[in-house]
Symmetry: C2
Subunit: 467 residues, 2 copies
């Protein structure tokens, strides 16, 4: 308390911010180099070559599948090829979920197939029943318990298009929680309109989880077009559907987080942690989710290496993000004692459209350093928007431990057109926008590595970390 | 010969066109009504309701499938519901082709599934082999005979986007003729980049035919994205693919042309023949191909009925166009003796985007009547473009018999994004543009029914009809 008062007095006296005596500063030479690196990165195609290689040569890479091991081998080889100083792996174990086949059809007077895909984590099984349509999750929740006995619940919510992707809260929420609500109402199967903003026949998969104590039912997402078709049929009259999923959990699998490091020139034990996730869903080749994130961060380290950053640049290609942040949690567990050494962390897991906003947990603590970073990012069209971002995917786990985070927010307007579908393929990435993404990560990472001072990483007391 | 000289002399003397004494004229009252019908049709949603009903309640309707019979029953009921004076069916028999399952995958170091679809008429079978890529059909044709022994031929031609769809000549040509060329070169399987202009993972099916005397091989089209992926893999190194198709011919099936007629008030035996085809491929719900054509022409008759047209308006929902114009050929055979009674014919089988051009076989013979029709169509943004159009689909058969034809040409810029794919669904039709299509058919059909005089329909001598 005494210390706080003293600091406050000092800050007021100097007209400077709180914690002024700990202000992290970035030197002019570092800023000048950042400006130069930014322009260089915009002309560089390393990121493009990496994502082309991953999506073509490995292709889809569902966690635990045969392609998981090939993806790990690919990442080890790619880090080495890009000149990383250290490359290693750390094991990640998780339950293996397998999709074998999936089929949906309308029965009777308007018999026709429906394009759908099993939700990740769904049980298999074949069910037939009359479809009961609900416009959203609240309507399903309002149905009396037991009222859907022998029927198939259909939540027909159309996710809204937003630049920050914020309506995934609703779309993803239905996917995550809908099946359990349907079970409580007595349903024998669960269908939802895909959590997507496209109008195509590509169904969006993604993880679900059954609440404890409930007997799981098959759960699938219809393409938005098939959902609209089913809604029209239900409006005409009672409509029966057959849903046949062959999928489910099949033992455990141990994959690897793949880690590459550019060793710091002055402070090798201090780490700027970057990452993306190496796994993808099985329907597409995981270009925007998250081949792009792997490529952006791998390319960042490669472009910084010749500049000899003071701190180490550590890039992690995380294992199995899609089915529950398994790679992130394994990394956090292994490195829980090294929170302060992780000076700042940032993940790219929101596609490859242009980055338009910058935010950090250090916004209030280090306004000067953040202002310097923002100025160097501004020529890329990136705005400093404190409070608008957050730690992405795995970095949420790291932030939970107390690591400072930065967020370089992609424009998500089109992200949910493709997310978790068979259309998540290389052609959806624009090489110019990907280069802008790399340039942003290069600028941020370089300045974070050269900064004199920290960004507030400190272990949280256990009770705080739990929240 | 003498008659021709006389006519020519007369035409020159009068300063009028050839055949001036037979000039077909359209009265002022008919033109005034056409203008009124045009504006009414633009506000009418009959066409939309018909195509919504067909694509929703019947859904996909592959010729010979269970849905074929439901489509016939639907069309009979819909003609009656729309108030047609006479509704009947005429049998159409054809070999039944069945698609049961289809699967493609890259084997080995980059193992991954490929999205593909069997070509209509393909044999089933499972083949594995190294892929040999050819940029176009000419390159495949240039390969030495026998050089593809045990290999899979892959013709990777990217169809070009054109307003008139004219590059279907190349794309469709590969689909039609490619498998036979591949067989001649010794290939055990045939793959092609879909004949489509989209960049999606929807493969385009469509008919193929093996030349006589060749032993058929399984033939499929990759989505354009999967074709690009396979091309990248082949460029990296030898690439083996497994192609497994379960499909083929299975006996004969008898379906029906479904015909509705608004009986002419003054000349009931003279017919303005309109049509679309009732069958679709099985992947989509056949909205633009050709639910739209059925809806546009059905709606046209319904909108003309209250006006009591002088000639009969006959609308045919043709059976099995997709697999070889079976419905059109059956109609032509049955009505071969009534060529002159079919005053003019027109089919809509090129989607539902706006109609932008008008052409007719009567361009030179009846320039005055054509000018009158063109003037009434002009407010719809339709240009008179003699020589630019031709008789569509079934009407090619009718034109071969000597029937005069008109063509109301749709803008085909986007048509081959969807053609023969699972994305050919109701949502791709814009209700406003569909109403414009109906308005165009209403104007044309009304003026054709009211015209004093003919458009040149006359039986061709057998030797001419054969060409």
């Amino acid at each position: 308390m005494r210390r706080t008062v003293l600091l406050l007095a000092l800050a007021v006296a100097l007209g400077g911010p709180l914690h002024a005596q700990h202000a992290t500063r970035i030197g002019d030479a570092a800023v000048a180099t950042a400006n130069q690196l930014r322009e260089q990165a915009l002309k560089d195609d390393t990121g493009w070559k990496v994502v082309e290689s991953l999506t073509t040569e490995v292709g889809p890479r569902l966690a635990g599948s045969e392609a998981d091991a090939r993806a790990v081998a690919w990442a080890v080889a790619k880090f080495k090829e890009l000149g990383y100083d250290k490359v290693w792996t750390e094991p990640v174990t998780f339950p293996k979920w397998v999709r074998r086949s999936e089929h949906g059809e309308v029965l009777g007077r308007s018999a026709q197939n429906l394009v759908l895909t099993a939700l990740g984590g769904s049980v298999g099984g074949t069910v037939e029943g009359e479809v009961v349509r609900f416009p959203d999750l609240a309507a399903l929740q309002a149905a009396p318990d037991g009222s859907l006995k022998g029927k198939i619940a259909f939540v027909d919510y159309q996710m809204q298009r937003k630049q920050d992707g914020s309506d995934y809260r609703n779309g993803g929420g239905i996917r995550w929680g809908g099946p359990s609500v349907a079970i409580q109402k007595g349903a024998s199967g669960f269908l939802m309109r895909s959590a997507g903003t496209d109008t195509t026949r590509s169904a969006h998969t993604g993880n679900t989880r059954y609440a404890e104590g409930l007997k799981p039912i098959p759960a699938a997402a219809l393409s938005t077009i098939d959902a609209a078709q089913l809604a029209r049929l239900v409006a005409i009259g009672p409509t029966r559907v057959r849903l046949a999923l062959d999928c489910g959990f099949d033992g455990e699998y141990t994959s690897q987080n793949v880690i590459g490091e550019i060793t710091g020139n002055a402070r090798p034990d201090e780490i700027v942690l970057l990452g993306g996730h190496l796994d993808s869903w099985d329907l597409g080749t995981g270009a925007i989710d998250d081949g792009a994130g792997v490529a952006i961060t791998m390319a960042t380290g490669a472009l910084l290496k010749p500049m000899k950053p003071r701190r180490s640049i550590r890039v992690v290609a995380f294992s199995n993000e899609e089915q529950g942040l398994f790679g992130g949690r394994a990394y956090a567990e292994k490195h829980a004692g090294e929170v302060a050494r992780h000076v700042i962390v940032s993940e790219s897991d929101f596609g490859a459209d242009r980055i338009y906003q910058f935010d950090s947990s250090a916004a209030k603590l280090q306004p000067q350093a953040m202002a310097q970073m923002s100025s160097a990012l501004a020529p890329l069209g990136i705005k400093w928007m404190p409070g608008a971002g957050g730690p992405e995917s795995e970095m949420e786990v790291m932030a939970g431990l107390g690591m400072a985070w930065a967020s370089l927010g992609h424009d998500g307007t089109k992200y949910f057109d493709l997310h978790h579908t068979n259309e998540d393929t290389l052609d959806k990435i624009d090489p110019q926008q990907l280069a802008q993404n790399v340039a942003a990560y290069v600028v941020f990472s370089w300045l974070a590595s050269q900064a004199d001072g920290d960004f507030g990483s400190a272990p949280k007391p256990p009770e705080a970390a739990a929240h």
